[in-house]
Subunit: 511 residues, 2 copies
């Protein structure tokens, strides 16, 4: 019936309107438009646009304003870009029927197990922006309580198929992934140059910070451009055997980016979604060998070894089915890695490790060598435990630093500011004793309050780690900020709660 309705309804001319509506497609129509009847088309209802054979689903806003004429249809960003028709093109607009795949979502909500075809249709519709945020939430929540093994495989597969697939002509393509949550944990930026210097292919894509003060992409951006597309990425990897870029422009698993944005808005966190999210990107990226880092600690994403073990099984299960050799290791997630938290501070740590600076953070160096050792042993010539020695050689010889500089040159110069925040304040221990614990979540929040990752030079320099002795009045860490409001906020928040516990003999108390 939609096609008949389209034939009868008056058409409207497309006009781009300067409204940024994030990820959501939004269309603006005059309340006096001939093409709609206000009782049927209500504000924030879903409508379907048709132009030639193109169809776009969008959320409707009505206006009496001059924003659009009565014969016009305003397309906000990103709907105008996605629809891809020039201004002035004639479109019809009808109330949108829900995507058919929503029937499967409703079945899932009521306890059904979905087929591969069902899940493929859902993910295809999501990747093509046919679901509203509410409908995406319905899928995620319906899946949150129960997902079968077959559903998990189908979800990983469908998400991998929905975007760019990278093909490499090399037999071994290695990758590493950390599930995140630990401040300063920038091992990829040490591991990639070591592994690439050895000659293994490691085309690393990373995310920007979402809720943390820095993602690997934010930190790498202090040193080089990171917003490369798939073709540019291939050139860098062809020349350097590795890269360190932001995944956003490569378009691996675009459905995953959409699902994650809704998960974040709802603070939903389920194991199956996490595994499908990560594995879909690795399948699409053409990885053959994958090392996964699961930090475990009281303020990490995983708080117990049992939880980490369950997650490990899921990663291995999906890896097996897709022919990816997956290795999962649990690491110490009790405290920050390195000295710096925030892009510039973390980049300084990374370069100090690569330069074999005696003042470089030993924990970042050791963890990176350990991860690199695992990856290097995917090289048949290095099996049997010689990976660590090889990694250390590549680091100590300067080969890794040289390779990092090659990668930086190949990716090109960054346009972002890279100076350290000049406003500084030391947060001091209130008592003498030994550091018993450090709350990673708290330090992440403080670094964000100080302005990271937007201000690349903002963040925290950590002076004391767990087990170290501190004197009363001695600095625990230093806050760096670029602007006064953020600086004041971060200091006030740190003084309210430092995130450190300093113990005194058998007793423990706040620092």
């Amino acid at each position: 019936m939609n096609s008949m309705a389209a034939a009868i309804r008056p058409q409207l001319r497309i006009r781009p309107v300067n409204l940024d509506t994030g990820r959501e497609n939004v269309v603006v129509i005059s309340r006096r438009s001939q093409a709609l009847r206000a009782e049927v088309f209500r504000g924030f209802s879903r409508v379907e646009l048709r132009c030639n054979s193109k169809i776009l689903l969008a959320t409707l806003i009505l206006t009496d304003d001059g924003l659009v004429g009565i014969d016009e249809l305003g397309l906000a960003e990103p709907a105008f870009r996605r629809f891809g028709e020039p201004a002035g093109s004639l479109v019809t607009v009808t109330p949108a029927a829900s995507p058919e795949s929503l029937d499967a979502v409703r079945a899932k909500i009521h306890g059904a197990v979905l087929s591969d075809a069902d899940i493929g249709a859902i993910i295809g519709d999501i990747a093509n922006y046919r679901y509203s945020d509410m409908e995406i939430a319905a899928f995620l929540i319906g899946s949150a309580s129960f997902m079968s093994s077959d559903e998990l495989l189908a979800l990983s597969q469908a998400m991998a198929q929905a975007g760019t697939r990278l093909n490499w002509t090399r037999p071994i393509v290695v990758d590493k992934h950390c599930i995140g949550g630990i401040p300063g944990n920038r091992t990829s930026m040490v591991v990639v140059p070591i592994v690439a210097a050895h000659g293994l292919t490691i085309p690393k894509t990373s995310s920007r910070a979402i809720t943390s003060p820095a993602g690997t992409a934010d930190t790498m951006e202090v040193l080089a451009r990171v917003d490369l597309g798939a073709d540019e990425m291939k050139q860098v990897v062809s020349a350097c055997d590795g890269c360190l870029i932001w995944g956003g422009h490569v378009n691996l698993s675009p459905a995953d980016d959409i699902l994650i944005s809704v998960e974040r808005a709802l603070s939903l966190d389920t194991r199956e979604q996490m595994v499908a999210s990560i594995m879909s990107k690795k399948i699409a990226a053409g990885s053959t060998h994958l090392l996964i880092d699961l930090p475990v600690g009281p303020a990490a994403k995983l708080t117990t070894g049992v939880a980490a073990m369950r997650l490990r099984k899921l990663f291995e299960f999906v890896g097996d089915r897709f022919g990816i050799a997956v290795e999962v290791i649990m690491t110490d997630g009790r405290q920050p890695i390195g000295h710096g938290i925030g892009p510039v501070l973390e980049a300084q740590d990374v370069m100090a490790v690569l330069a074999n600076d005696p003042a470089a953070p030993a924990d970042l160096r050791e963890k990176s060598l350990r991860l690199a050792a695992h990856l290097l042993e995917y090289d048949p010539k290095l099996r049997g435990g010689s990976g660590y020695a090889r990694a250390r050689d590549l680091l100590e010889s300067g080969a890794a630093l040289k390779r990092m500089q090659m990668i930086i040159d190949a990716q090109g110069p960054s346009s972002s500011r890279t100076d350290l925040g000049k406003l500084t304040a030391d947060i001091k221990a209130q008592r003498t004793g030994v550091v018993v614990s450090i709350d990673c979540l708290r330090l992440n929040r403080l670094a964000r309050s100080a302005g990271a990752p937007i201000d690349k030079g903002a963040g925290i320099r950590v002076f004391k780690k767990i087990g170290e002795r501190v004197e009363q009045g001695e600095p625990l860490y230093r806050i760096h900020a670029c602007d006064t409001p953020e600086f004041d906020l971060a200091i006030a928040a740190a003084n309210a709660s430092t995130g450190y516990v300093v113990g005194h003999g058998a007793r423990e108390a706040g620092a």
Copy 2:
């Protein structure tokens, strides 16, 4: 930290903007505004506005356009109305933290049973527009798979408390409710005048059509004004013992209206939500005795007696706990009731029954008498089966018609058009035989295609019911429409599928 951020951030001046965003709060800010940093405030993210002690959560749209100045904050309808601060007032805007009650929603998604306090907080936040549609969907879906008896009671209670509560000084306040889905089923408009003529109090509020071609409120609006507020409603009931108004302006259980709009957008349909929805409104309306009509049929909301029985138990359970005497009856939901489908056609049926017109539809008359009989027997003087005779007396004596005219006069004249659609086409039987079934959903869709309920005079007049004999070429029903596009659409759709099955001896086939 929000209050500190508020103290530091620049303030913006409120400006109402002419954008209709349905139920959703939307705010428009210039991308060049001092009050935001684009990386933190993304399009369609949630923001929190503060002005004096008022707080409003809203969805953000960014613009470079002249819609708002750089020191302004545009509030779309309905956000401007809900915030209730005049244009020019200074507000601060910060990224919104999720409502705290969302923690309980997340717990529910992961299988928890919620406390009364949890559910009260969730419903309070929803009624105060603090949840986004996505967050409302999360609550509904999290509750869809499992809801305990205590949760159902808490939900009904919380929803009833969130809006207007009506108090009546009379000991018996009766009400009836049908769960809907049957075309032409306008029994309330016959039952209310009969029961009110007897002297029992029956303050009936009804809904407008959402997915059907007419709600009772749409049909009553053909005869009288229906958009009365609570005070006006009380005056009508005081004068007439009954009323027939739209519930929208009385504000009973406003959280329910919000939940229903999200359920509808997702086509979610769960028993517990339906029971909480209906019972919360009856609790808030001060009903003491409630009759619930559950039509059962192949294209009705309930397809089996077992499903109806389960629903009945839930209604009785909630009624018991809130001291409402609930009686649930199952009725024939196999086919339309009366001749007309659509507001004007249905109003004609109702008035014909009340006027004892020999051509009035016998099924509407009989069903209405039966329902009225149940209600009349709530009067202690009529117990023991004399309700039916009393109802018939009130109808046949003209007392019910007279009472209907009192109610119409008290509610006042309607401003809507009330003439029948002049464009007509008869849909004819393709073969001779007996009507075996009528698809209620199909007839509802056809009547909506013809223009109902927006065009009050559009709809369908049914000539043949189940069990009746038809000759090939004899009309099954007549389509009425007011405008040509709708008329053409409805005819094409009816010819594609009439909704009737005409059987021939033992065999059955499409009409």
